[in-house]
């Protein structure tokens, strides 16, 4: 059984899968290893027990049942379940209601030490549902919180008469004081690194730093990893044993007690929990003079962590941490054979290969040069930054003047290092965008990965190399899939009160975008590139699209064009197309002078791969007062399927179009978010004869009262099915073999 405990961890993981799937896989696992289980009956018993436990404990992430729906208003007792974290605009913490539901509370003002972990308080709150993602590829905040067990958010709840606290609460308070103290005595930059690397407190990092580290796949260095914990333990042990001349036995006892304390002080992140508990178990085993395989220790810690917090399973840092540790333990024979440099290269390579599918699944890209940067920065962080920061903190706590000197040294070395990293140009070549891989490709990848590693382990390097190429081939295959797909797709993205359409022509013969709108939002969250950064870019990346062929701008209103420059910068369209116009000021306002748009007017025809664009309007270059009525209107024809993109055209504009003898239209992009000033009865009677579906891009609860009920009724009276972003989220039209199907993102 020794060395095989990982089987129990695998069986425990099965409990998280859908019930039928987990039973099938369990059956397969039992049958294929029948002989093994026969000779290890009690291990089989424990494993089966763990399977049942896992099914019982693993959270149900499907829709909550009737009796378990979240109340809108809640008044009653609640238990504080997490220590408050202060952010820029609010302080947040989790509470458990009397029906065992978890709610995230955000307070603008919290008195110091008023909220204690584990306290029971009388509360009153109105609970809101968390916003769900409405676009493919978009970060889903609701499922993110649900996967941490949190069902809703309450803002500025009334919290009174708190009683009691948990036994770890004083530790959290000590951590707060310590962090404050660090802020006081060190320069902001030093304290930022010290708080992050020693106490897992990352709130002081700015966006640029986070983005740079993420771009180079170095983010793992910002979190406290097993490497950090190991180094910290080794240092403490050395100080106790050599410095204070304490016996080995007592040194181990001291570490045993201090590790759990440190886990809490370090903010109890999954990677710290993993590394800390592993260390505890290894020390215990050594004390008991037992021999245990490291992989078995890892498997046991995996199961224990999940039993205590079943939601950990969904946390990226938990998945990454265990996957990398497991891969490196299995690779010990490969890693330990050569010198220091080769060992680091192999560790870096194997970790990256093991994580690649997860990386692509969550972020859609990886950085092909990150492996080199890791080679440089991993030793820098572990050999220089960590020991210096630890020493600095100790010197400061002992009030020695050396602290000032050492801090100077730290800044003197660290500043140029970080400047160099930020200064490094973020080549787009280094960024390999594959898109969201299908589960099948991920499965194939891991099978090939296992074979390759086994070959490498056995020293069959030639075979290993062949499989390594196949490994990369998996992702080329993923990238090639759209080029074999006959379907033609139009996706109406939900960008709020604005427009943005992505058109994928059959077999990727072209990717077009119509409009890149931004929503006008008046809050601290307002950013001019919210839609492009959070919705359009993730959507395109998830489809593996890194370059588009054309960006067509219907007209120069904020909700149609504001994200345009961002798209031009990041997706480098071969052409920027706008309606013919005299007044060029808005072009420079939105695009600067870097891009020269191509002006289109009635009669122009464009060809993109399998698609033809026939421009219907405008006919003149004068905008006759209204920007909306000067919209670029065109028909996109692909395989005989015609879509009319009507921009924000209003009634006067529609009248002009009707004189132009339009061919039959299959799909209508309704003008101006369904406003009653557009889509007149005359227009629908003329144009809408063959139209079966209409797309309306409109913000939920917008102040313009779009779409107009009159327009909706008018469309429906003509037998047209209306798809709208405020109720359906993003809507994708798939046209294949003469049939079009529509799939709304939120059904």
């Amino acid at each position: 059984m020794k060395g095989n405990i990982y089987l129990a961890a695998v069986i425990y993981t099965l409990g998280y899968l859908p019930f039928a799937v987990s039973l099938c896989l369990l059956g397969a696992l039992l049958l294929t290893l029948l002989r093994f289980w026969y000779s290890h009956k009690w291990f089989l018993g424990v494993s089966l027990f763990l399977f049942i436990l896992s099914i019982y404990l693993s959270p149900q992430t499907t829709a909550p049942s009737e009796e378990n729906t979240l109340p809108e208003e809640y008044a009653g007792p609640a238990i504080i379940k997490s220590h408050p974290i202060t952010k820029e605009f609010y302080t947040e913490f989790e509470v458990e209601l009397s029906n065992q539901q978890m709610v995230l509370i955000r307070q603008q003002k919290v008195e110091q030490n008023a909220i204690k972990h584990g306290a029971v308080c009388l509360t009153e709150m109105s609970i809101e549902q968390v916003n769900q993602a409405t676009n493919p590829g978009q970060f889903d905040y609701r499922s993110f919180l649900n996967h941490q067990g949190i069902q809703g958010i309450a803002y500025d709840a009334t919290i009174e008469e708190c009683v009691g606290s948990s036994f770890v609460s004083p530790l959290y308070e000590y951590r707060d004081r310590l962090l404050e103290q660090i802020d006081d005595v060190f320069s902001p930059n030093t304290s930022m690194w010290m708080k992050a690397l020693l106490f897992g407190e990352r709130s002081n990092f700015d966006d640029q730093l986070m983005e740079t580290f993420q771009f180079w796949n170095l983010s793992h260095l910002l979190a406290i990893s097993g490497l950090h914990v190991g180094l910290l333990l080794a240092l403490s042990y050395a100080v106790l044993y050599f410095g204070f001349r304490i016996s080995k036995e007592s040194a181990m006892n001291i570490l045993l007690v201090s590790i759990p304390v440190y886990i809490v002080l370090a903010g109890s992140q999954p990677s710290v929990i993993r590394a800390g508990l592993m260390a505890v178990l290894v020390i215990l085993v050594t004390k008991l003079k037992m021999t245990v395989k490291l992989l078995d220790v890892l498997a046991i810690i995996y199961i224990i962590s999940l039993v205590f917090d079943p939601y950990l399973f969904y946390q990226l840092s938990f998945q990454f941490s265990f996957l990398v540790t497991c891969s490196l333990i299995l690779s010990k024979q490969i890693i330990t054979t050569d010198g220091w440099l080769w060992t680091s290269i192999k560790i870096s390579l194997i970790s990256q290969l093991a994580l690649l599918p997860l990386q692509f699944y969550h972020f859609y890209y990886t950085n092909v040069l990150s492996f080199l940067l890791n080679l440089l920065f991993v030793p820098y962080f572990t050999v220089f930054m960590l020991p210096v920061l630890i020493t600095l903190l100790l010197l400061q706590l002992l009030h020695t003047p050396f602290a000032v000197l050492l801090e100077k040294l730290f800044i003197w070395i660290n500043q140029p290092m970080m400047d160099a990293l930020f200064g490094l140009e973020q080549f787009s070549i280094a960024q390999w965008i594959v898109g969201k891989p299908s589960i099948l490709v991920i499965g194939i990848y891991y099978v090939i990965f296992l074979i390759m590693m086994a070959m490498w382990n056995r020293g069959k390097l030639r075979f290993a190399a062949v499989f390594a190429i196949a490994l990369i081939g998996c992702w080329w295959m993923q990238q090639a899939l759209p080029y074999m797909d006959n379907a033609y797709r139009i996706t109406m993205l939900d960008v709020g009160q604005g427009d943005s359409f992505v058109i994928e022509l059959p077999r990727r013969s072209g990717v077009l975008m119509v409009d890149a709108g931004e929503e006008v939002v008046y809050s601290h969250l307002d950013q001019s590139n919210r839609n492009t950064k959070n919705i359009i870019q993730p959507f395109l990346w998830s489809k593996g699209i890194t370059q588009i062929d054309a960006l067509l701008i219907s007209h120069f209103d904020y909700d149609h064009v504001a994200g345009g420059k961002e798209i031009m910068d990041s997706f480098k369209p071969k052409g920027l197309f706008i309606a013919e116009r005299q007044d060029l000021e808005p072009i420079t306002r939105y695009f600067g002078d870097k891009y020269q748009p191509i002006h289109l007017m009635h009669g122009h025809r464009l060809q993109f791969g399998g698609g033809t664009i026939e421009v219907i309007a405008p006919k003149t270059n004068r905008s006759s007062g209204s920007e909306n009525n000067h919209s670029l209107v065109f028909i996109l024809e692909v395989d005989g399927h015609r879509t009319l993109f009507a921009g924000d055209l209003e009634e006067p504009g529609e009248r002009r179009i009707l004189q132009r003898n339009l061919p039959p239209i299959d799909l209508l992009k309704v003008a101006h978010h369904g406003s009653k000033t557009s889509t007149s009865e005359a227009f629908i009677r003329e144009v809408g004869v063959d139209v079966k579906n209409a797309l309306i891009s409109v913000g939920e609860d917008n102040t313009f009262n779009h779409p107009s009920q009159v327009v909706i009724k008018r469309l429906e009276d003509h037998g047209i099915k209306v798809w709208r972003t405020d109720t359906h989220g993003a809507v994708e039209m798939i046209y294949k073999n003469g049939q079009s199907t529509f799939s709304p993102f939120t059904p």
Partner: protein, 222 residues
């Protein structure tokens, strides 16, 4: 699981290549290292470690018999000090269980070298010797391989081979007798292959009785 030779517990060293290997180990890594498998170059016929294509022993047999009745011999281990000691424990001190230590390698070697339709013939033991020892070591080895046995041969001679000189062995009379007709494909199983006389006596009888291929699989080539 414990090592059949040194009794220490065997731990699976889980790496990428052993991740899905759930076979029960019967030999610990350190004992496995001390048992020395036969390395090339060897005599093509009898696996004696030599530079020659055909070793002097085999040449002699060809001359002696006209045509050697044994088609070939395959052995697993060399007869090093460790093996001598282990063999003594197995044969003369009755540690029958040790045979399982060789299970994996013995099975593996059979699979690599012999066709599936072969019958096994463990070299028979004289009755008096069987009583003395309690088991037939050749039969113990044959049982490691999942293959039909041929039991139609008995031993009439009494003398211990190990007490004889090379010439005495070569010139002794055939100690075996057939009681049944042998199958076409026969693999003779024995623990030790020294000069090959025992195996060849058995082979000669079977070839005469109509067997087409007679080879031998022996644990040790000394």
């Amino acid at each position: 699981m414990h090592c059949k030779i040194c009794m220490h517990s065997i731990e699976k060293d889980t790496t990428w290549s052993t991740l899905f290997d759930f076979r029960e180990r019967t030999l610990c890594p350190s004992c496995n290292e001390q048992l020395e498998t036969i390395q090339e170059p060897t005599c093509e016929k009898c696996m004696k470690q030599t530079e020659e294509k055909l070793c002097s022993d085999c040449k002699f047999w060809e001359q002696y018999w006209g045509k050697d009745p044994l088609d070939r011999n395959v052995s697993v281990y060399t007869y090093n000090e460790y093996m001598k000691e282990t063999m003594a424990r197995f044969k003369y001190r009755g540690d029958y269980e040790i045979v399982h230590a060789w299970k994996d390698s013995f099975q593996q070697t059979f699979k690599e070298h012999f066709p599936k339709e072969s019958h096994l013939l463990p070299v028979p033991l004289a009755e008096s010797r069987f009583h003395e020892r309690g088991f037939n070591q050749a039969e113990a080895l044959a049982n490691l391989v999942d293959q039909p046995l041929f039991a139609g041969m008995i031993r009439i001679g009494q003398e211990k081979q190990s007490k004889k000189s090379k010439w005495e062995r070569l010139l002794a009379s055939n100690p075996f007798e057939l009681t049944e007709t042998p199958p076409e494909n026969i693999v003779i199983i024995d623990d030790l292959f020294t000069t090959g006389s025992t195996v060849r006596f058995a082979a000669q009888l079977m070839k005469k009785a109509g067997a087409k291929r007679v080879s031998s699989l022996t644990l040790v080539r000394s």
